[in-house]
Amino acid sequence: MLTIDGLKEALRNAQSEIEANKDTLTDLDRAIGDGDHGINMSRGFDAVSTILNEDYDSLGALSKKVGMTLMAKVGGAAGPLYGSAFVKAATAFGDATEADFSLVKSALEEGSASIKARGKSEVGQKTMVDVWEPFLTDLSESDDFTEKLDRLVKDTEDMKATKGRASYFGESSRGTIDPGAMSSAIILKAIMKEVD
């Protein structure tokens, strides 16, 4: 079950993981982008951490607030993508104050769909979509979430980017992990950890 406090805890953990990996995220983005992903995510999750002190009636209300906050603070491509993911997940969470595995999964599926729609992107383009979509496909409660997410992140390394800034470099985008894939894995791991 994921409770409101559980989701808050997940987001706090995501924030500290992003902080710990800020330079790595930035360096990955420096290699195949514009070198701001760690800075953007850290700014956004700093803002998220401050709204976690408030009270929320439902998982939906919390998730929506998180989405709006990310949208208003992250900027760049990641801002609207993560922002709309949490806003869309909120519609699935609705008024629920706790969510079982299957509700969490559908909320994340809404999020994933919204990233693809906003980003006009598909699996295989070396973006965060390459974590979200395959992670949720056939996801079962007994999976080793961390192992699966780590593998998906690693899989982006060899891909050739065809979406986002990394696509400018064509073949030479291979060899570097997609920064958005890495930040996505951090967030998804933190959430899955609280679904018990």
């Binding site: 330079d23 800075i39 208003a72 900027g75 491509a77 400018y168």
Partner: protein
């Protein structure tokens, strides 16, 4: 990495404060938001023109706010597109009741954030449309092309059209005409440094340069040994000439922020000679820093085919600090 700044995370707000303080006759600011609008507010009845994006491209975009050009510029963090709520503030500040046109550079982040803002504005009853600029021929796939220095011509032309009282549809049409014909390509011999991380966009050794760079510190599509600017110009023009037919053009030699003006004029000297030899007529010429990338040392060349309408709008008066006519 050495920066002449205070706290890195206050760079954009201090820059905006500096701009407004220095030029209060031209610039106003929306309290608490990094949006620069016109000192005299939205002009009633005029189509509003809004642009913006990440900061670090100065004078773009705030330097193009002023009578005859933009009504508002939204200043995101350095190289990070601004958020929808910020863009919405810009739209509101520019709205004179006859609709607002957004000039957006073709980056996933800019496109998404400006689109989201347009949806919000729409919900508030403001008529908003947008035009996407994707002039960078360094990227072969046209859909992925970045918006770079050619965007400034879109600002100027659309700004003059709006100032002359055209409708949103008309302003959009001429903006689209410029956006669809303008082509640019850039290069750098030295990278820029991100203010927060302190890191360069790419690492070059003493003998290397990047061809086909973007304006966010991204490395180019090709790394080559440095050479005379004479042959660098050949290289960039080879790409541009494939997409712009000989004829009457406006040419811009744009500095990336850390390039001495002397080098830009030397570069222009070669550009002009080579284009004229290839049958182009350089009807309008612009040399200077128009769309920069912090302190990057390099330049871009932009070509815009001219017709009478575009030429007239390019020449129309502008009070904008970055494009004074």
């Amino acid at each position: 990495m050495k920066k002449l700044i205070g706290e890195a995370n206050e760079l954009v707000s201090q820059m905006v404060e500096g701009m407004v303080h220095a030029h209060p006759d031209v610039y106003g600011r929306i309290e608490g938001v990094n949006v620069i609008c016109r000192a005299d507010g939205a002009k009633s009845g005029k189509v509003g023109l809004v642009s913006g994006g990440g900061s670090g491209h100065e004078p773009a975009h705030a330097g193009y706010v002023g009578d005859g050009m933009l009504d508002a510029a939204v200043c995101g963090e350095v190289f990070t597109s601004p958020t929808p709520d910020m863009v919405l503030e810009g739209i509101k500040a520019a709205d004179g009741g006859n609709g607002v046109l957004l000039v957006v550079k073709n980056y996933a982040g800019d496109v998404m954030n400006f689109e989201l803002a347009a949806e919000l504005a729409d919900a508030e009853g403001i008529k908003v449309d947008h035009v996407v600029v994707a002039d960078d021929v360094a990227i072969s796939n046209k859909d992925d092309r970045r918006g770079v220095a050619g965007t400034v011509f879109v600002h100027k032309v659309a700004g003059a059209a709006a100032a002359s009282g055209k409708s949103l549809e008309e302003v959009k049409a001429v903006a689209e005409k410029v956006a669809s014909h303008v082509r640019s390509m850039g290069m750098a011999v030295e990278p820029c440094y991100m203010p927060v991380s302190g890191k360069p966009g790419f690492d070059l050794n003493e003998e290397e340069m990047e061809i086909g760079i973007g304006i966010h510190g991204e490395r180019g599509v090709e790394r080559k040994p440095t050479t005379s600017v004479d042959s660098i110009v050949d290289d960039l023009l080879d790409h541009l000439k494939q997409e712009v037919e000989p004829g009457e053009v406006a040419v811009m030699v744009n500095g990336m922020g850390g390039t001495p003006l002397s080098e830009l004029y030397v570069t222009y000297h070669f550009v002009a000679k080579k284009l004229e030899d290839a049958g182009y007529t350089l009807k309008r010429k612009y040399v200077g820093n128009y769309m920069t990338s912090l302190e990057m040392h390099g330049f871009s060349i932009t070509l815009l085919p001219l017709d009478e309408e575009i030429t007239t709008y390019l020449d129309a008066p502008s009070a904008a600090h970055g494009f004074k006519i």
